[in-house]
Symmetry: C2
Subunit: 263 residues, 2 copies
DNA sequence: CAGTGGTCTAGACCACTGG
DNA sequence: CAGTGGTCTAGACCACTGC
């Protein structure tokens, strides 16, 4: 029998839509709250199912169902015999979870083996469009990062530019982010964000278009003006559907492609 | 206590990798087999959980877990109070599940409101590359369909071409598929496939690239040669990971975009 | 009202990890 | 070995549908 302190659903005829929510959803909300509050850090283990069941005064099966959903949401990772861990962008499998670029002739590997080259990193007031998408007030500070991803060439030549990224971040969340900090970091950018700024990317939405290379962008990607490029506009969210990154990538898709799975 | 006829896992030290598979996975495999054999048709209800539990001599909870997985795989659809139904491409929500095209300024709606215009439908021997991807033997028959998708213009003008599709199907599976049949059909193409040819698309993999409009394609899409287009190469699978459709779409992404969600 | 899926519990046992 | 997540069962009750 569930104790009090949870929403009881037999609250009588008060509202037309009682908004019934099962126990395990309430537990899930509590767990997400703990993640959001930083109670358990990325990579660390959360308490065992038995412990959580005791803490919330519910059965283990109910905790289990809550954790199951959070695992399919990629918030948690279950490891049999070891425990349940807060998901992170640090592990091999999930390191480039949001980068769908793959070499054309490849054994299906994701785009891990690319070099990075930082072009720019500066703070400024967010332009209107950026501010709108990131839910910032007009004129609030933002950080802009520009960088290249390059594919190493087999035959000793120059690395070939493949991706030109233009990234916008809320200045308030990324206080100490500088070019030096970015240059020094070995590893995926999202790993830096969660390790140094406690900002964890949970999900994202992308809009893809084909565009023609123009001006400076063409030069940076070392292609003639007019070359067709894949434009990928990504808006990333953290806990609570809060937008925390706007990224516009230009992909040179000769030799690489954007891979998507439909279910 | 589970009866015999299921794989018992305490089979003794025979193999190094005993390939342990839980009961509910075995039930799931049986259910998928029934779907594959056409025992229950798309849109129809499958037996209730209680009935299935009795049939397979397992508990309802075990059946439930098998069905849960099939529901997240989009093979089945659960409806509380009514039953569990074989998924279909007929319903409003899942009708254009694989078409990620969306109008730029829109309330997030999928690309439903497009007109179709059939360009071509003919049978021929599958070209080498098509045969390879569809797992056909060299020279086996195939059906090629070409068509346009057009967005109706607000101001009474001509509908604007948005997508040029080039579709290849195994001839053996689509025996009676003709231009007349396609012209007469009102509704999504995948609905025709499952209704008339018992071929249900389960999942697909897409490769996206930016390309330049050339020759005939540019004319059909009513764009100048060299216009950047989004090339979408899709390989679709039915039960048992059998490839059954190869589709190459050219998307004109001015006014529309390809929308993707990353988790 | 009966029949369906959905939630919750309690307990037993299995598979895996690490000390 | 103890501790973790994973499976399976049996039963009670709830929410929703349609007759």
């Amino acid at each position: 029998m569930p104790e009090a302190s949870f929403t009881q659903n037999a609250t009588g005829p008060v509202e037309a839509a009682p908004a019934f929510s099962p126990l395990y959803q309430q537990i899930k909300a509590l767990l997400v709250g703990s993640l959001r509050a930083g109670e358990w850090q990325p990579g660390q283990a959360i308490p065992s199912e038995v412990d959580l069941a005791a803490r919330y005064k519910v059965s283990q099966g109910t905790v289990r169902k809550a954790i199951d959903e959070m695992a399919t949401d990629n918030l948690l990772v279950r490891r049999q015999g070891k425990g349940t861990f807060v998901a992170t962008h640090a592990e091999a499998g999930t390191q480039y979870r949001f980068l769908r670029l793959a070499p054309d002739a490849s054994p299906m590997g994701a785009g891990g083996g690319l070099q990075r080259r930082l072009l720019d990193c500066r703070r400024m007031r967010a332009p209107a469009e950026v501010a709108r998408l990131l839910a910032l007030k007009a004129g609030e500070p933002a950080v802009q990062v520009r960088r290249l991803l390059l594919a190493p060439l087999a035959e000793g030549g120059e690395p070939a530019p493949v991706v030109l990224d233009d990234i916008w971040l809320p200045g308030a969340l990324f206080k100490g982010l500088t070019a030096e900090r970015l240059m020094a970091w070995r590893g995926a950018m999202y790993r830096l964000f969660e390790a140094e700024f406690s900002v964890r990317m949970i999900r994202a939405v992308e809009k893809l278009r084909a565009v023609a290379a123009a001006g400076e962008d063409a030069g940076l990607l070392a292609v003639p003006e007019g070359t067709p490029l894949l434009s990928v506009e990504r808006l990333s969210f953290t806990y609570g559907d809060q937008p925390v990154e706007l990224r516009r990538g230009l992909y040179h898709t000769q030799g690489h492609h954007y891979r998507n799975e439909l279910n």
